[in-house]
Symmetry: C2
Amino acid sequence: MSASSFAQLPAPPCFAVIFSSLRSAGDDDGYARMAARMVELAADQPGYLGIETARGAEGFGITVSYWTSLAAIAAWKAQAEHRVAQETGKARWYEHYELRIARVERAYAGPR
Amino acid sequence: MSASSFAQLPAPPCFAVIFSSLRSAGDDDGYARMAARMVELAADQPGYLGIETARGAEGFGITVSYWTSLAAIAAWKAQAEHRVAQETGKARWYEHYELRIARVERAYAGPR
């Protein structure tokens, strides 16, 4: 998927992982490789519905992934390669992050 | 608030408006003025908890605002000046957008 694409989701309900982060300076290549790999890997997980991501020039970014259930989110969190990425992220790539898990109740699109 | 700052939220539950959008080309100044004004205005609404926003160079962005209740979100949607911004956005600023309303169930932060 491209960084500038919308997730095509089924009608609600579903679950969202809202991950906001501020990148540490440096290792842009390593980070970009990991981020691309995680997008690819997430798409292969059971219960995956879609992902959207945006990061501004100042290094603050938001990634929202969508899932069928809380169990699917828990399984993705525990996935082995993803765990390595999480630990490397804590050690090297993120100055700070906030992760929020939410149940999507309603959705609409526009303008046309 | 700055575009690269984290929302400081109370412990869950709360409600999130996840607004992802692809900007139309042009009118960057008008869009920036409106976006800054909406951030300011939202912060004055009853039930507002915080906002986070990121937009990449390709024009795809995600803004997540957090609220105490669905009623607070409905009131914000109906706010007069915000309605004008919504209509102008449909006509001029957004190629496409997706809006999802979600109940935040869990939250944590890292790495330190």
